[in-house]
Symmetry: D2
């Protein structure tokens, strides 16, 4: 019973089947295949953005770093939450791709950027001596399992835009955020002021596939060159495209995300009902992960039951901070077994 991360799962059967279906015959390499074109067309329709340009890569770090670099000069700064994946978990990839740009961190509950703190940071005077604020990065859903509403995204991106910054969305769990809010893809992205969205499929059912959606097509050529220069242009791109196509077809992506969210909600509510302290997310819509504080007994019971998750060592009172992540592959019976063990 694995609740360590959504990337411990394999791929959805539909995704794997698409790889096999896409294998026979010859195709044009490097994204000139028909499948890549179909993916762009699908995402334009899904996002109601007929001009958008779509580029596929295979990791979320690549997607984020390439997208941010397209909107941030080397002397620029990227404003993000202190707990953002780009700050905490990408080993300086954003700095690398953006040629030495700076990440400026902002606080806020549940890893959501606090609008007042953002305003204060944006209000600083900037001269030739300072990093030049260039981009705001919003993680949707956040690293603490919280989900911004479309209105919240619009408010943050609006504050950024008023000072000349662009807005990037790290959407590694964008599908989960949509499933949690019932916002449409357009409402949660470009209509809320997002300039570039990194739409992650990997954590939610693909093998290795991420779509970078540039709502401003004028950035496309630069992005293409950056992708190639980063070593992220696949020769047999048909296989990345096949994953993405299968994932998007017939709303599979949203069904998989809704399942993951539902499993997490069932766990979260069940644990709370059994006396577990829920730490994150606090209020508002929630995605497929949450953070708790287990008593020593609770932790021991779950370990005995075979539940796996990342937990801190016991603190002075024997309590453990832990992260619980459900995925598209989480089974209801495992959730029930976990709750029964408490």
């Amino acid at each position: 019973m694995i609740f360590t991360s959504d990337n411990a799962s394999g791929a959805a059967p539909e995704v794997l089947a698409a790889l096999a279906a896409g294998n026979p015959g010859y195709t044009m390499p490097y994204g000139a295949d028909d499948g890549s074109a179909r993916v762009e067309a699908m995402l334009r329709e899904i996002f109601e953005a007929p001009e958008a340009r779509v580029f596929l890569v295979a990791t979320g770090t690549a997607a984020n770093a390439l997208a941010l670099a397209t909107y941030t000069p080397p002397w620029g700064s990227i404003l993000c939450h202190r707990l953002a994946h780009i700050e905490e978990d990408e080993c300086n990839a954003p700095e690398f791709y953006a040629g030495g740009a700076k990440l400026t961190v902002i606080e806020g509950d549940d890893a959501k950027i606090d609008a007042a703190v953002l305003e204060r940071v944006l209000g600083s005077e900037v001269s030739v001596h300072n990093a030049q604020p260039a981009a705001l990065s919003i993680t949707q859903a956040t690293e603490r399992g919280a989900v911004y509403t479309a209105e919240e995204v619009a408010a943050l991106s609006g504050a950024a835009r008023a000072r000349g910054l662009s807005t990037h969305m790290d959407g590694t769990r964008f599908a989960n955020a949509l499933a949690a809010t019932n916002a449409s893809p357009a409402e949660m992205s470009w209509r809320a002021g997002v300039d570039v969205l990194c739409l992650g499929a990997t954590k939610c059912g693909a093998m290795a596939a991420e779509a970078v959606i540039l709502f401003d097509p004028a950035k496309a050529r630069e992005f293409e060159l950056r992708r190639k220069r980063g070593g992220h242009l696949f020769s047999k791109m048909r296989f990345v495209a096949a994953q993405m196509e299968a994932w998007l077809a017939d709303g599979l992506w949203l069904r998989l995300a809704a399942h993951a969210n539902a499993m997490a909600a069932r766990l979260r509510e069940g644990m709370a009902a059994r006396g577990v302290k829920i730490v994150h997310p606090g209020t508002g819509p929630a995605a497929n992960l949450f953070f708790v504080e287990f008593s020593g007994e609770q932790h021991a019971a779950l370990q005995t039951a075979g539940m796996e998750y990342y937990a801190s060592a016991a603190d002075a009172e024997g309590r453990h901070s832990a992260r619980i992540v459900a995925s598209f592959a989480t089974r209801e019976e495992d959730v029930e077994a976990v709750l029964a063990a408490l």
Copy 2:
């Protein structure tokens, strides 16, 4: 009948089957899965290098750029052939990953580095004003279809080592080179002085899988950090490992490469016998690609027959320079059809 590139083919059935077989259940992410460990063990055995460290990535450009950066400081230079993929076809990826290092190009027939030219370049005095020569990069097989013998590799790497340079091998078609020479993997790599080999599976039957083999394990930690920082560490690494494992198992890789070489040889010899001028490779062992000069009539006949390949526009005498590439998937009947058309 596609002879444009070996990357126009899909994946070998064994490779696809391995993806499906590897999908069920949970695994540790980011290369901590059992499959990744098995691949390292297999390559250590195949290369008779029990200390070697193996890191998987998904594109040849990533493999080359990461490997070169591990051996070249930003103020260094990389010596390579003027036609090397790293110089011609990677959109400055090596310069990017190596922090602004320089590529210094060297001439030689059939895209092989000329030993005398290399000696002359290595003989220049170097001061603080100059780029510091740091690495020699050898492409095996070359971009013109030629193959270095193990002795040739050893001579070049020896000259480099005598001046303090390391040797990188771009082995995107290393399997084809082995099949063409019957050298053992060890003979063609570390025994011939190669410090780091980028072993490409993608062009020869995988979907997207390349192994970077560091014969000096002391470089492993740096490489790991570079890979992550480049966005090339896959969360579901099990799928890259599964491809590589299937490709290596039971000598599949060498059989696929030998087939591609044989198809190219059949075509090359058949074309030569029918009056086509073979341009590259000149002499010596050959891999799965070659370069010709077609008369206008030859070109027209092949176009009519449906053969696809990259060709120049007609020159003043109506002749076309063309590249012909066979792959693991090339069918004998297509080769015969092409020859019949001449």
Copy 3:
């Protein structure tokens, strides 16, 4: 009466005279001149560090960025105070020179790094996903006018060293710190665990001259190459050396610094006695700058008297935050005039 910054002053007469004296005749370029050698010898003696290597540059930003890059890989992080010049005022130069490394900011009063916060940051677990902590940067004196004692420096560098980090000292006002504490140069640098010191002369009487002192000579060749690659190797280095030589000779540097400190102290104490609120530095030894909060009346009186300094716009209560900087060139009569105006 200029108290905006110590860089609004010109150069000390001794420094200018040395330029003229050093002009006639031919010298070896690029630091191979006798003057550069004499400067290295002088600094080795002054710092009781016979193995140290000394490299001259012309700006503090260049000195800091080059020194930090020598101790921080591109995937590393540099720990510094949130208000450090390298974080706030160098337009991403450290990130640029260190190939995209990250600056991780730490809080503390008077722009001094808080030892407890440093311990907490150093205590975090580090994996391949994270920036790798590589260097601690201490500004001496700080951007708020405070001075670390040698014991404080040793405590911070010791904590860093215990986790494998090196220590860099931004000594743009190192002379002022020495004058404020009476510590010896060695006590305040390598004996306190500093690996590389950027000793600034520009703010304290030179025209444009900074010495980077590498206490570990093994880093020298890398530093030299980095300096050249950054465009900071002067052909007519004799003129940078002449400034530094004159500045160091016969303790001029410490006399100039002591004068600047004394002028600032006289102002600070005089202002406090006249009801001005002193904000920084709080306690402990102080350098040649301090921060105040002026009432509207105080500010107006000083403006009328012709005192220039950087001040915020009036807050809701009409008060102005302001920075006052004295320099080697500050005249006693100006200090008295300022105090008289209050």
Copy 4:
């Protein structure tokens, strides 16, 4: 008698005097001083370019690297002569500042770019896989002492512009080129298609001062940020400005350059008349340096006479290749003494 390089000389007396004259009092730092403004105004007038923006730095490598980076994206390539200073003698500074761009080298006599070779290189097809040609760099005068006519510059820059490239001029010896051709500053720069000129004063009488002249003011803000980020923004910029102002005033720069050229011409012609083989420059106008092949006897005689210059070891026939450089400070009596020694 030093003929090794023009940077072995000190500074012209007028330049030194200006430093002293500019020292008293306070000025705004970081280029906001009146002297910097005057220099910009002077250069606008001298170059008949009222919109041009001027930025001062202190080394030629900084000037070149910053200027090239402003016109070359990281995925771009810079076309230059194989012997260009930016390729041979700047330790990858251009690649560093341009974020990993590539230098593509072109051949031509006397280190002048051959127009036909340039056309061929510019004629290559470019796809996402290639470095994107972005800038042409012309060294005026060349590293072999040759000088382009304004017409030659216009022809090269025109070919570049037709393919979308900008033109950079490394004018470390621009004054010598003007003195050699009697072209006006405007004719030799923007009227000949130059987008950015690095006008070097250091080699021709300054201490350390170079002006980057951006004929397109739209690039100014980016350049300013790049200069700061590179650590090349001097706090006491007044001293760089003072050098440049004195150097430009009353045509001093052209008089100094004309003297250096004349001394070189006298030497070159005198040596030729005495049987020395002149190697570079071949034909056309010449600057203040030239290359010869000395017989063993000639070399020995000059060594005995105390003439210093860079020379190769003796070849099989006892001959030495050598470079002779005159400077603004070269004395006629030394030239005569050298010729007498032959």
